[in-house]
Symmetry: C2
Subunit: 231 residues, 2 copies
């Protein structure tokens, strides 16, 4: 292997406090792989064989039922996905595919579970990670159940504004995926963007400019208990 990815893993909060011996035994069976865009990584219903760590690129988590499909989340570097399935040794609830060219580290699930059983620091780190994930999904559920699609879009844009620290930014995914993520159709999203124009949202392709933050916030009514993804 030309380069080491060990440090990428060790830098993750999930693995930072782990005992060195245990860390080594985790890394022993691991490997890194490069994927082109739009490659299926895992399929919902399958058994977890590896814990995945996204080092670069981006991964889409999505689910299907009865011919329909919906985007559940986007995983960006550096973080893991399907941690819960790995620990429980239960079937994946979501499928995953690369959005861009991505570099992904694979840690054998069995090893992860073994280390989990004997390393208290690792177990505690998993708790922190899972709490975060759990709360993120709860927030997402509140977003879905309490808001209309127009309100969800407005709040999404405000979150992106906060993330980038600028009132002008580019969408970091295709609009069709954004629509799916927000629980609506592409057509509806297209109209929703128009519907936000009166509140100070200018759209040009995938470039967004918030021209009247006050007005947009008055409409969106963002709440830390839904929109603050840091807690």
């Amino acid at each position: 292997m030309p380069e080491s990815y060990r440090q990428d893993v060790r830098d993750l909060a999930l693995f930072a406090d782990m005992d060195q011996v245990n860390f080594e035994s985790l890394m022993r069976g691991s490997y890194v792989q490069n994927f082109p865009p739009r490659i299926d990584l895992i399929t919902e219903g399958d058994s977890p064989d590896f814990l995945h760590v996204v080092v670069s690129g981006a991964v889409d988590l999505f689910s299907s039922w009865n011919g329909r499909e919906t985007s559940m989340a986007t995983v960006r570097p550096v973080s893991t996905f399907i941690l819960a399935a790995t620990i429980k040794d239960a079937p994946y609830l979501m499928s995953a595919r690369t959005l861009e060219k991505s570099r992904i580290i694979l840690l054998p699930s069995e090893d992860v579970r073994q280390v989990f059983e004997k390393d208290g620091a690792f177990a505690r780190a998993i708790v922190t990670e899972l709490s975060q994930c759990y709360r993120a999904v709860v927030k997402n559920t509140k977003d879905l159940k309490l808001r209309t699609s127009l309100e969800r879009l407005a709040n999404y844009l405000l979150r992106q504004m906060g993330r980038t620290g600028s009132s002008a930014f580019d969408l970091l995914m295709e609009k069709r995926r954004l629509a799916s993520f927000l629980g609506m159709t592409p057509e509806n999203l297209s109209r929703a963007f128009k519907g936000l124009e009166p509140y100070g949202v200018r759209v040009d392709g995938n470039h967004i400019k918030i021209t009247d933050t006050e007005e947009l916030m008055r409409f969106a009514k963002p709440s830390p208990l839904i929109d603050d993804h840091s807690t």
Copy 2:
């Protein structure tokens, strides 16, 4: 205190493998309380002061935004709620109120966090619990995003049928709360019940009878990756 609730707590998988010394230090600051129906226990946004254990009765977890309210989950004996908020020491994302007369054990959050930090078995048990919760919420999100309200109701009824092991059963909550839980209005639920009649669902008050399971399943298309709450 006339009776001890220690065993109720110890019987929970969450606390079963915990070191006895740590268990005692957890119980030291704890107490049990009886609540009448419809009493607010916690309010979203507040800081977690106690980890709650429902010993008897039932508790509704719900969330509000902009004057709207939605039921997120029902907690039944014997289990805990707001575990993630307690561990992270982050604000509650949901409010809680009793549905019936309930008996609830309160464990000081600070004690829970302290024991969590030093007891590996406890940390591992929390991981198991949180994984379960996380996967439950993911399933719920899939239910919401991939299904119409009629399909959600149909699958809910099938789940209840599986839970009770009988094709005739009583709804265990008010229809207005069921509606809120399923992400619809009471009026819509009322019509949805009618809409399921052709698929073999008979409704009389809160008593349900599935007269044609095959037909209902053909319509509902239940999936273990959404409807099996045991994995």
